[in-house]
C-alpha cells in the first residue's frame, strides 16, 4: 500500500517536477559521491566529525527526492541508488534545517567538484520548494514579506528613506561647506541611477553620503529614486523566482522612468548578482538600453578618467580584501576591487585562499536573517577567522553588506583586532577634495557699463575652443569691441596660431579632444617665448566640476603659474570683455591700454 503524503510533501514533489531544468537535472544526476567536495565547505572544516555537513550529503537530501520521482534508476530500484521521497512535514523540516541552516549557497564546492555539480543552484531550488509550502526560517519569511509588501527587504518606509537621504545631504553640505552638494531624488534625465541596500538607509547611511560625495566630485549626472531603490533581492536566498523577478523589475522600471542610461549598484554581493545577472532572467526583462554596473567599477572609472583624485597615503593602515561569494564565484568580479584598493590604500595584503577559492564570510545566503542558526554559523566561521588573522591586516574590506555583517559578527566572536569596511569608505577617505576655483575680480574701473565701444581695438585675440558655437560667440563679442580675432578648434592648431600670429591674448578651453587645454597651457608656460603670454581659461561645467578642479590640481602639481584669468561657461559677454581688458592692461605696455 502506497504511503500517504502530507499536503505539503505532495506539493513539494509536484513542484520539484515542474522546476527541474536541464542544468539542475544534470547537477543532480552527475554526482558520483566521490566526496571531493567535503573539505571545501567551511561548515565541514568547523565540524570535521559530522558528515551531515558535507556538501554531497546535503545535496543528497534533494537528490534522493529527485531520484525517487524523476530519475530512471531511482524509480525502478530506489534502494539501490538511495532514492527516497518525502512524506511528512517533519521530513520537510529536516530538509529546511539542511538547505537553510547548513549551506550558504556560496558555491565553493561547485568550483572544486570534478563533475561540475552546481550544488548552490539546486540548494536554492530546494529552498524555493519549501518556501512554496510555507516552510522556512522565520527571519526569511519576514524579510521576504517586507520585500513583497514594502518594496525593500528591511521594511524601510518611504518617508524614512527620503528623510535619511536629506539628512545625509545636509551632512555633506556641512562637511564640505558647500550648499551646492546635492543627493538628487527622481531627477529626470539623470544618466545614472544609484541603487542601494536598505541596510545603508537603515543602519549605515554614511555609505550613501560617501557615494554621493564621489558622484558629486566626479561631476556625474546622477540621481537616487524614491521607488525601486532597493537592489537587494531575497528571491536569490529563498529560491522564489517570482519574488526575484518582482524585486528586479522594480529597479529596472525606476531606471526607465528616469530615462537613465546606467544603473549603478552599491556594494552588495547578492544585490549585484540579482540585479545584473539573475534579475533579467527572473523578471523576463530585456534591458537593451540600460547598462548595469557595480559601484566598484564606477569608482575605478572615475579615478582612471581623472574625474576624482585620490591620495592613497590617507589609507595607510594595513588592509585585506574579502571576496564576496556572489561577486567572485557567481559574477567573476575579482580583479577590479583589487585594482581599486591598490589605488586608494597603501598597504594592501592578500588573503589566502582568495578570489573564487575564498571561503564564505558565513553570513551569505541570507544566513544573517536566520537567528536560529547563528551559533552554527559562528562555529563555521572558524576558517574565515583564521584566514583573516593570518593577513595581519587591521581592516578587512569587502564589497558586500552581508559580508560586512557576517565578518563583523565573527570578528567579535573570535576577538580579532580588526574592523570591516567597504571600498566606498576607502575611496571616500582617500578623496582629494578639490579647492574651489579662484575667481577673477573684475575691476570696478572697467565695470561693464563703462567699457568703451572699441576698447579692444588694436589687439589680436586667439580663441581656442573645440565648440564652433563658442568660437563664433567669442569672435562676435571681441570683434564688437574692436579686436582682431583668430580661431583654433583644437590645441594643436592653437599652438600653430600662437607661433605664427603672435596674439596679444589667448582664450583657452580645457576640455577638447586629442590634446587637452591643460596640456597646451603647460606647454606654453614651459616655453620661454610664451611663458608670459596672457591666457584666459574659459571652460564649462559648474564650480566644483571636473575640468576646473583637475586644472588647478594640474598646475599645482606641475608648479606652473595660474592663468591670468579663469572664467566659466556659460559666457557672460560683459564679464569676458572686462576680463580681457583687465588682463591686457596688466600685461601690455601702457601705450596700448585703452
Amino acid at each position: 500500500m502506497a504511503r500517504e503524503r502530507s499536503w505539503r510533501a505532495q506539493k513539494v514533489v509536484e513542484r520539484l517536477e515542474q522546476k527541474v531544468n536541464r542544468q539542475v537535472l544534470l547537477s543532480l544526476a552527475a554526482c558520483v559521491h566521490c566526496g571531493m567536495c567535503t573539505e571545501q565547505c567551511h561548515y565541514v572544516l568547523a565540524n570535521p566529525d559530522d558528515p551531515t555537513y558535507a556538501p554531497a550529503y546535503k545535496a543528497d537530501k534533494l537528490r534522493k527526492l529527485f531520484k525517487a520521482h524523476i530519475d530512471w534508476t531511482g524509480r525502478a530500484f530506489p534502494w539501490w541508488v538511495g532514492a527516497r521521497s518525502v512524506y511528512t512535514d517533519e521530513e520537510l523540516e529536516d530538509l529546511k534545517d539542511t538547505v537553510f541552516g547548513k549551506c550558504t549557497n556560496c558555491r565553493r564546492c561547485s568550483y572544486n567538484c570534478p563533475m561540475g555539480v552546481d550544488m548552490a543552484t539546486f540548494n536554492r531550488l530546494a529552498r524555493g520548494l519549501l518556501v512554496h509550502v510555507g516552510i522556512m526560517p522565520e527571519g526569511v519569511a519576514t524579510v521576504a514579506k517586507d520585500q513583497w509588501e514594502i518594496g525593500n527587504q528591511m521594511g524601510v518606509l518611504k518617508e524614512d528613506y527620503l528623510e535619511t537621504i536629506e539628512w545625509m545631504q545636509e551632512e555633506l553640505q556641512d562637511e564640505f561647506d558647500d550648499p551646492g552638494i546635492e543627493i538628487p531624488i527622481d531627477k529626470k534625465g539623470a544618466e545614472v541611477v544609484y541603487t542601494i541596500n536598505p541596510r545603508e538607509a537603515k543602519y549605515d547611511p554614511r555609505t550613501i553620503a560617501e557615494a554621493a560625495a564621489i558622484f558629486h566630485f566626479a561631476g556625474e549626472n546622477w540621481t537616487m529614486v524614491s521607488e525601486g531603490w532597493d537592489m537587494t533581492n531575497f528571491g536569490l536566498f529563498n529560491g522564489d523566482d517570482e519574488l526575484g523577478g518582482a524585486c528586479a523589475r522594480r529597479v529596472y522600471d525606476a531606471a526607465r522612468a528616469i530615462g537613465a542610461k546606467r544603473i549603478v549598484i552599491s556594494e552588495c554581493g547578492h544585490g549585484y548578482r540579482s540585479t545584473r545577472c539573475e534579475g533579467p532572467n527572473w523578471s523576463k526583462t530585456d534591458l537593451p538600453d540600460i547598462e548595469m554596473e557595480s559601484s566598484i567599477i564606477t569608482m575605478l572609472r572615475y579615478i582612471k578618467e581623472g574625474r576624482i583624485q585620490v591620495d592613497k597615503s590617507k589609507n595607510s593602515i594595513p588592509v585585506t580584501y574579502h571576496d564576496s561569494c556572489n561577486m567572485a564565484r557567481s559574477c567573476g568580479m575579482t580583479e577590479e576591487p583589487r585594482e581599486l584598493l591598490r589605488l586608494v590604500c597603501s598597504d594592501f595584503r592578500e588573503m589566502y585562499p582568495n578570489r573564487q577559492q575564498n571561503f564564505c564570510c558565513t553570513g551569505g545566503g541570507g544566513a544573517m536573517s536566520m537567528a536560529e542558526y547563528a551559533p552554527r554559523r559562528l562555529k563555521s566561521a572558524k576558517i574565515k577567522a583564521e584566514q583573516l588573522r593570518a593577513t595581519g591586516a587591521k581592516i578587512v574590506i569587502t564589497s558586500c553588506h552581508n559580508c560586512v555583517d557576517g565578518l563583523t559578527d565573527l570578528i567579535k566572536h573570535y576577538q580579532l583586532d580588526m574592523e570591516v569596511k567597504q571600498l566606498v569608505d576607502m575611496v571616500y577617505n582617500a578623496l582629494v577634495v578639490p579647492k574651489p576655483a579662484p575667481k577673477v575680480e573684475v575691476p570696478v574701473a572697467v565695470a561693464p557699463a563703462e567699457i568703451p565701444a572699441k576698447a579692444l581695438a588694436g589687439y589680436k585675440i586667439l580663441v581656442i575652443d573645440d565648440e564652433p558655437d563658442v568660437r563664433t560667440y567669442l569672435r562676435v563679442i571681441f570683434k564688437d569691441k574692436g579686436a582682431e580675432v583668430l580661431e583654433a578648434p583644437d590645441a594643436n592648431q592653437g599652438w600653430r596660431q600662437i607661433r605664427d600670429q603672435k596674439p596679444d591674448l589667448v582664450t583657452l578651453d580645457l576640455v577638447m579632444p586629442h590634446k587637452t587645454g591643460e596640456k597646451l597651457y603647460w606647454e606654453l608656460r614651459k616655453d620661454e617665448r610664451y611663458k608670459d603670454l596672457p591666457i584666459v581659461i574659459i571652460t564649462g561645467y559648474g564650480k566644483t566640476d571636473k575640468p576646473t578642479v583637475r586644472f588647478h590640481e594640474f598646475i599645482a602639481e606641475k608648479g606652473i603659474p595660474e592663468p591670468n584669468a579663469f572664467l566659466e561657461k556659460p559666457i557672460d559677454p560683459d564679464k569676458v570683455i572686462a576680463t580681457a581688458i583687465q588682463v591686457l592692461s596688466a600685461g601690455i605696455p601702457t601705450d596700448r591700454v585703452h
Partner: protein
C-alpha cells in the same frame, strides 16, 4: 592451429556487440531524456570582461578534470588525483582491450604490451581498493554511499582483475580467463547505463553548462588558480 570455442567466440564477439548495442540504445534514450528538460537561458547581457565568454568558460570547464591544479580539492590532495587518473586509465585500457583481443589481437600480443597492460590493470586495482577503503572508512563518504556506489566500484575492481588474467590472450592454454573477462565486460556494459558509472555521459553536459554560465559572467576561466590558494613562498 588453435580454434576458438564457439562459446568464447560468442562471448568476445556476438555478446559484446549485443551488449554494446544495448548500452548505446539506453544512452541514446538517456540523452533524449536529458534534452527533454528545458535548459535555463541567460537573458542578461554578458557581464564578462574582455577575453572571457561563455564559450571559453565552457571549454575551460570541460578541461577542468585535466587541470588538478585548478581545483583546491585535488591540489590539496594530489594522491586522490593520482587515484582518479590511474583508475580511469586502467578502465579505459580494459575497454580498449575488449576490442583488441577479438579484432586485432596482434597489437597487444608482445610480452611487453601484455606486461604494460597488466601493470596498468594492477595499478588500477590498487587505486580502486584505495577508493573502496576510503568509501568504507571515511565517515563523510560512507554517509553518502549507496549500494550502487559500492557495487560499481567492486565490479570495476573485479573486472580489472579479470583483465589481468585475460591480457595474455592465452586461449590455447585456457579459455576460462577470457570467458570470465568477456562475460564480465558484457555485464558491465549492460549495467553501466543504470549505474553511477554512466557519469561520463553527464560529465560533458554538466561541465558545459556550468562553464558556459560562469564564463558568460567572467568567473571562468580562473585567472591564476594556484595564486588563489597559497602565497608564493
Amino acid at each position: 592451429m588453435y580454434e576458438t570455442s564457439p562459446l568464447l567466440h560468442f562471448a568476445e564477439d556476438t555478446l559484446q556487440i549485443a551488449a554494446l548495442s544495448f548500452m548505446a540504445i539506453v544512452y541514446a534514450l538517456k540523452i533524449r531524456w536529458i534534452l527533454k528538460f528545458p535548459a535555463a537561458k541567460e537573458r542578461q547581457k554578458p557581464t564578462a570582461p574582455p577575453g572571457r565568454d561563455g564559450r571559453k568558460g565552457a571549454l575551460y570547464s570541460l578541461a577542468a578534470i585535466a587541470m588538478p591544479w585548478a581545483m583546491a580539492s585535488y591540489r590539496e590532495r594530489p594522491l586522490r588525483y593520482i587515484q582518479f587518473a590511474v583508475f580511469h586509465l586502467a578502465v579505459a585500457a580494459s575497454i580498449l582491450m575488449s576490442f583488441l583481443i577479438p579484432y586485432a589481437p596482434e597489437t597487444i600480443a608482445s610480452p611487453a604490451a601484455v606486461g604494460l597492460l597488466q601493470a596498468i590493470f594492477a595499478a588500477g586495482i590498487l587505486m580502486g581498493l584505495m577508493r573502496l577503503w576510503r568509501r568504507l572508512a571515511d565517515p563523510h563518504v560512507r554517509a553518502i554511499s549507496t549500494p550502487d556506489d559500492y557495487f560499481s566500484l567492486a565490479l570495476l575492481i573485479v573486472w580489472l582483475g579479470a583483465s589481468i588474467a585475460a591480457a595474455p590472450n592465452a586461449r590455447e592454454v585456457s579459455e576460462t580467463p577470457l570467458l570470465v573477462y568477456f562475460f564480465l565486460t558484457a555485464f558491465f556494459l549492460v549495467y553501466v547505463p543504470f549505474s553511477k558509472i554512466s557519469h561520463y555521459i553527464y560529465y560533458p553536459f554538466s561541465r558545459y553548462y556550468l562553464g558556459k554560465t560562469l564564463g558568460r559572467r567572467g568567473a571562468y576561466p580562473l585567472a591564476d588558480p594556484a595564486a588563489m590558494l597559497k602565497p608564493e613562498s
